[in-house]
Symmetry: C2
Subunit: 221 residues, 2 copies
Amino acid sequence: MTETVDTVRDTKERILDAAESLFARHGFAAASLRQITADAGVNLAAVNYHFQSKEELFVAVIKRKIEPINARRLALLDGLESQLPDVVPSLEQVIRVFFRPVFEAQLLGVELGNFPKLLGRFYSEPGERVARVLGDAFGVVLERFGRAFRRALPGLTGKDLAWGAHFMIGSMAHYLAAGEILKFMSRGQVDALDTEEAYERLVAFAAAGLEAMASAREKHA
Amino acid sequence: MTETVDTVRDTKERILDAAESLFARHGFAAASLRQITADAGVNLAAVNYHFQSKEELFVAVIKRKIEPINARRLALLDGLESQLPDVVPSLEQVIRVFFRPVFEAQLLGVELGNFPKLLGRFYSEPGERVARVLGDAFGVVLERFGRAFRRALPGLTGKDLAWGAHFMIGSMAHYLAAGEILKFMSRGQVDALDTEEAYERLVAFAAAGLEAMASAREKHA
DNA sequence: GTTTCAGTCATACGTATGTTTTAATCATAC
DNA sequence: GTATGATTAAAACATACGTATGACTGAAAC
């Protein structure tokens, strides 16, 4: 009984694993189903059987990674807010909670695989594909964290927050997708794989930047 | 005489224009030479004649856009530093000079086309392709601006700078490549096409973030 | 013990890809 | 006015793509 199910799961997950790696390394269009199924050691037709299309496979790959992260984000934020109900979480605390799940797996020594590059690349994949996942997966997260950010920084308007969050996510995405450039830019001084440092750096950069959004608004108009 | 030359320029540039637009909209792999040449109104073989391959065409498209921007960056930095030789340019001034050429064309009312998305996407295109252009085009810029940043923020170490610059570029790239997400995230409050505001926001975010890199270092180890 | 059914398999379809080849075209130099 | 060298045009090249089909498998259901 479990045998049949496990075989299925194995095939589906082997496809997902191989697809994740290839999508991350080559992008959606350049990763062929033939190479994906070859790497996964399954038949070519298995993709269209288990998922309906290459497109759906891509969505499944993204969702498998993003959904646990967003769930963890919400859980951490819940913990932060319910722990001391009267204390408003600081900006840095909220930012840490937002970024931590992305780094967490690797910090815990778990294999993170090609997820970073995949997630980074995901943001620059053509529209339609991304929009669907984005709406589904980030709706609640955006809402909850938006409130948390504005409680931490009462001066922040909706526009301030949108700009700040956008740059914040951009910094993260670029680090995830193009971390190797860091080694090039720093002439080897910085190792992008030092996740602990990357996390601290990102938090510091984002916190300062977000805080600066309020004053920038006054400057502009 | 000029006729021949202009015809050449026309064909090559029509290809470059069409390629730029399609690479920006669909990425490298998904933009086909047939669609590029059809949009450009030239023959399919013209691409392999004028450029040797699709790959070289991509490099040419990127270089055509990046080189003037980097030249302008250096010129602006020269102006800043030679204007008052005894005054060290401030962090914000240097950052403005670094970002300005990217926004300038649009600020001046010149058609910027699909360049923003292309440049943003460029950062997440697979490695080999990008690395060549990156090394060629950004070597001098990196060196000169590195010095300028460290003069503006004497506390900054090489590592601080590398992290800060990386996040800075990430914020810009993400804005350029995925500006539409901004409208989604802000529930329509923010129009990413307001270049003037984007520029001010980006400068403010990056300046604050970069400044924060020095203190973050102490925190980490 | 046969039916059922999810899963896998090899294979083929039609289309699209980047590139190459062969001929024609054209302005210019002699 | 014709030879020349550079562009373009049209067609074909081999290969790769995503998807669909129909046969086969093996175990559970009745």
